[in-house]
Amino acid sequence: MRTLALLFSLGIVRALVGQAVGMAFGYGLVAVLRQALGLEPSPEAAWVSGALFSVLFALLFAGVLTDWLKWAVGKETELRHGPPEDKPAWTRYFGVDYNHKVIGIQYGVASLLVLMIGGILALIFRLELSFPGMQFLQETTYNTIFSAHGIIMIASILLGVGAMGNYLVPMMIGAPDMAFPRLNAFSFWIGVPSAVLLVLAMFIGNGWDTGWVAYPPLSIRGPLGTQLFLLGFYINGFASIASAINIIVTVLTMRAPGMSLFRMPIFVWGSLSASLIQATATQTVGLALLMLTTQRLFGLGFFDPTAPTAGIPPGDPILYQHLFWFYSHPVVYVFVLPGLGIISELLPVFGRKPLFGYKWIALSSVAIALVGFLVWSHHMFTSGMSEFLRVPFMFSTVLVAIPTGIKFFSWIGTMWGGKLVFPTPMLFVLGAISVFLIGGLTGPILGTVPTDLHLHDSYWVVGHFHATMFGGFVFPFFAAIYYWYPKITGRMYNERLGQLHFALMVPGFWLMSLAQMRLGLLGMRRRIADYEAGLGLDFTHAIVTISALIIAWAILIMVYNLVASARTEPVAARNPWGSRSPEWQAPSPMPEFNYDRPFEVVGDPYDYGLPGSRYVDMSPVAAGD
């Protein structure tokens, strides 16, 4: 009984229950109303209402909205920090908590869970694709699964980006917390029902078959699952916008004394640039998804190419692509900018050398973010958009190579002449550099129109973006997890297992993406459940599947390592990496409000090897630590 009560006091359980209740409520509401009004039943409208109420109820039940609702009726609330008093301390990780570190960890765990869901989907459809002919899936199922794989993985990345931003940014800039702790909790908690909706979309009404891009007219004719997917995607946007605003404000107003913008740890620049994109571009994809939803529900013909009567202009499917890519191109830089920030952050620590060209790296992040807004149509070279647009977008696209190149060359400069050490985080940093390099370099060939005419919608693109996303996000994220693991748990991870993870994952990934690119050049289309035998594709497909399995094992090893080491491994030294960053000068795990007193920044962040230099001036830590 006690445990049951405890279970139901957990925010996550309440959110899920709330979501189920809300779903039933919303569905029933529409069903009953339509019945009462004598309209014919519309499962789609009922599900949409169910989905919207499910999100609202999940938030209400979890308790994220409580404070705001109280404000609305004029009650003051206090911002409670610290572990709950009447419950075990661990419960705070499963409920609404306003501490940025707790939220960061919640994001991180959610990201890994969602990554595993998306990964299992990948394994399922990879097994299907190992050989020509249909093995064990139906075409419909295949389409649903790969579409879900795409969007769920992207949700996972966004959660991971949130994890790094939330956990690290306030700590690195010496703030006690984020600027808006309640909004911060809201951003995370609205991501939960949105992820549930995305998963649910697979199982309801025949799934959906549009891929993660949801191009109309297919997405308008598609089965019911499409609608739930659109809503899940849409709701996720709230999380992005809210957390981006939070990070921007935090960085701009809450830095420690003496921390000028160019003295921030470099990761903060990555996070800031990514947030600039997230805060703005997300609106346009929201609009595009909303348009699809309303077209499905109310028949608003934004993208319907048939004109109802002569003289009235018809809709245009290509408009959707513009709106969609205006967000979805910049968002790929949201995926990588924090990750590249992690690379820049860790290289000096493990190279024992200053970061080469700090300002250039910092500003290149901003440049990537800004130029990234001007290239979206490179996804549409073959779409039939106005032809005169192709050449300008070709130029803008290849220009992104320059700020990205600056990062690579500066990383080389950082390693050059250093004293490199290679614990697991550094291994993943190096792996990330190699993988992101091939991912990036396979971009310009897509950016030049004549070559893209062949490569578009082929597995070359699949290879390109897995390499950029693994190199720019997944590997740096893993590096970050290992690197800050002692900070989070106070204990060291198991080094041997970390190395094993690396040794399986990076070569496994290399194999996978090279094989995918080969397939694409040979003529393998994306998003097909089946391919013909005898095109020279069979063997390479088998390789992709095998490497996928290798990657899966590697990730399982990591998960085991993370879970087991928190119990068994020895307590970590306070600053195991010899870092100069402020968070490593404080005890692990971090105190509730990070630093007892605001520290002062007295030097540059990466002056490794400069005798007597200091980055931060910490007030003496209270005795007993």
Binding site: P217, F395, L399, G417, K419, S434, H454, H456, I528, G609
Partner: protein, 256 residues
């Protein structure tokens, strides 16, 4: 200079690595045969890109692996690395050099694009219709003859006037290298000049629903003589019937 030895090593190693990378990539990256004039033109750009990829990959990776071996901390060493913060001249160099490279590629791409899309005066028009999940074609220059396989003469420029009847599809014959989406309600065109007689497969390259994987079509390229023969035969057979144009709910029918 302190690093002279190291730089010399890099200068020696990088080209070797680049060459090796290029060879490996060439073994992995294979294109189908180039069976259209456009494909032959674009081939150069593929090769140029592969060379660029190899060179830049080799450059960065050589530096990285060299650093890993040459600059790793020896056991027992507690020192930090050399202290330098950056070098503005270098930063400018590696901003400007890639800039020049990519601008060149942009320019080249633009020229090549206008090259492969330039109309020839006597191009032949074929209308292409895509629908879930099949293709058909209409030859307006041959009494609106309608076929279910695309038969083309070698050596002649064809303008494909394409539209979809339901959702997006995409016209792609990998051997021809070029691709164009079919959009319902709109007509878009694609120019190809097949060169090598033979049979090819047209593959729908835009997800279009359940059977997208199987939305294939046969493309037959005939020598000009054979093509004439085929035209006559088809007309004699009275076969391929004129297309029922009302089939689509879509506003646009291809212009001629």
């Amino acid at each position: 200079m302190k690093y002279r030895k190291h730089f010399t090593a890099i200068i020696v190693i990088t080209p070797v690595v680049a060459l090796l990378t290029y060879l490996v990539l060439n073994a992995i990256y294979k294109l189908p045969i180039a069976a259209s004039e456009e494909a032959v033109i674009i081939e150069d750009m593929f090769q140029a890109h592969f060379i660029l990829i190899s060179a830049l990959f080799a450059l960065v990776m050589t530096f990285m692996f060299y650093s890993i071996f040459a600059f790793r901390r020896q056991p027992g060493d507690e020192e930090d690395g050399d202290h330098f913060h950056g070098n503005t001249v270098l930063e400018i160099v590696w901003t400007v050099v890639p800039l020049v490279i990519v601008l060149f590629f942009g320019y080249w791409g633009a020229v090549m694009l206008s090259d492969i899309t330039a109309p020839e005066p006597d191009e032949m028009v074929v209308e292409v219709y895509g629908q879930q999940w099949s293709w058909y074609y209409i030859y307006p220059e041959m009494d609106d003859m309608r076929t279910s396989e695309l038969v083309l003469p070698a050596g002649e420029q064809i303008r494909l006037e394409m539209t979809a009847l339901d959702v997006l599809h995409s016209f792609w014959v990998p051997e021809f290298r070029v691709k164009q989406d079919l959009v319902p309600g709109q007509i878009h065109h694609l120019r190809i000049t097949p060169t090598i007689p033979g049979e090819y497969r047209l593959r729908c390259a835009e997800i279009c629903g359940v059977q997208h994987a199987y939305m294939l079509g046969d493309v037959i390229v005939l020598s000009p003589d054979e093509f004439e023969e085929w035209v006559e035969e088809s007309e004699l057979a009275g076969e391929p019937v004129p297309a029922p144009r009302t089939e689509s709910s879509v506003a646009g029918t291809p212009a001629d």
